[in-house]
Amino acid sequence: MDRRVWLFLAAAALALAVLPLTPGEYRWLNLIVVGLYVLFAGLFALNSLSERDAGRLRQQQRANPP
């Protein structure tokens, strides 16, 4: 898995961990940060999986040319 996915998940976890510390008036910002990082992690994970699949397909095509 792409290391960036772990970076974003760690960032989301950090933002979530400071949520109880954040004063009420800024919790919306904290939640947006958590949401954004979960979204980034999801998108980069999908991208990483699709790149892996594309690589595997290319390898198969090279091994078994039409």
Binding site: D2, R4, L7, A15, L21, Y26, L29
Partner: protein, 330 residues
Amino acid sequence: MSFAVLAVIVLALAFDFTNGFHDAANSIATVVSTRVLSPKWAVIWAAFFNFVAFLVFHTEVANTIAKDVVVQEVLSEGVIFAGLIGAIGWNLATFYLGLPTSSSHALVGGIAGAAVAVEGTDVLIGEGLRKIGAFIVLSPLIGLALGLILTIVLQWLFHRVKRVDRLNKQFRKGQLVSAAAFSLGHGGNDAQKTMGIILAVLIASGEVTPDADVPLWVVLSAHTAIGLGTLMGGWRIVKTMGFKITKLQPAGGVAAETGAAATLFFASSQGIPVSTTHTITGAIIGVGAARRASAVRWGVASRVVWAWIITIPGAAIIAAVSSIVIRALA
């Protein structure tokens, strides 16, 4: 005005000067590394925007430092002096060790540590410290997210452009604006921390009333000190920083500086003291993350996390010891 008050003001302005000296590199390293400006003109550019920041931002951050960290009754000249010693001592120690710690966090830790050493933990203001503590973590994360989003948006907008050299030329000009915005945010947030310290000592000595706003001479002297610090020494560090960040293209520089500047503008408008160094570091990591995993400065990221954990307790311990020594001597 007594000698003790004057000594604290001079020490606070010296702290501000060193802040400008160190942090100039953050705002102009990318401009220097892409050869948009020479180091000399780059520091003049940053120093000018550090100074004029007082025209843009109010003094909410200064009020937070002066009134929301510890209760005002405990803030004597000795406590504030010890707090500054703690912050400066910590900065010098970590500068020697090469840790990217924040002067802002050291200042908060120093004041809190000095006050606790005198009157115990009851003097700490939970609400103010919670706000500062939450944004120690949130500001680099917001910078990182904005740096990443801006890079993706720029890549999407210009991916069809064939003349990359012409595009880079445009982004070099854009860097002048983004570096100016970041310097404005840096001046606005960091100079106010010094204003907060000076306001606290003026309140403690009875020079101004507890509900008073920051006097204009304090605003001007703090911005002058940070601007002069940037002007005097910044270029030496800029040369080093410039090489470290040479991997950033002009578009990446614009994205990182704009993301960090937006974070600082928000924090300053809300009266939240944040680390300008950690915010721009987060934004640069965000730009790297948008490109590829190997472009992320993993080592820098982990060192920033360590700096978060140790700065406030470290500065607080030095300040507490200083506070006890000052009390014993007095």
